[in-house]
Amino acid sequence: MASVGGGGGGANKMADKEKKKKESILDLSKYIDKTIRVKFQGGREASGVLKGFDPLLNLVLDGTIEYMRDPDDQYKLTEDTRQLGLVVCRGTSVVLICPQDGMEAIPNPFIQQQDG
């Protein structure tokens, strides 16, 4: 299967790292101190500056703004926002992380998922 090349280099070095356990498929260190958008199970969304993270994908966000979806909202990102200061977001309920500016492509992480 052809692998999709991402923007960054170092694709050969990633193959060695895949033998280790608990390797994240997404390197969050490049998002530190950047504003990101996070979506949660249950339909919540939040934006904030990423201050920290761990392998379980728990996130620490600063200056967090939380958005909620109304029944008639669908995806309006209403004015129903709240400012929370420093928050810890549970990795177990995170479904999407993306930079506030837009999306960027990453190399396909699912190529060698034979181990199950």
Partner: protein
């Protein structure tokens, strides 16, 4: 980071539209938390629920934000 908050008042947001304010007594690896002097809020109707004292154990499964 959460470890630094033990003993402080914290505000926990669940996956559903429910929030819990209380004093953090402790937590475990799964982020099940023990809280004291707890007030429970429903976000949308903006009504405060029961104020529960003593202590509660909150299941970390449904916690979204702390």
């Amino acid at each position: 980071l959460v470890d630094k908050c033990t003993g402080s008042r914290i505000h926990i947001v669940m996956k559903s539209d429910k929030e819990i304010l209380g004093t953090l007594l402790g937590f475990d690896d799964f982020v099940n938390t023990v809280l004291e002097d707890v007030t429970e809020f429903e976000i949308t109707p903006e009504g405060r629920r029961i104020t529960k004292l003593d202590q509660i154990l909150l299941n970390g499964n449904n916690i979204t934000m702390v």
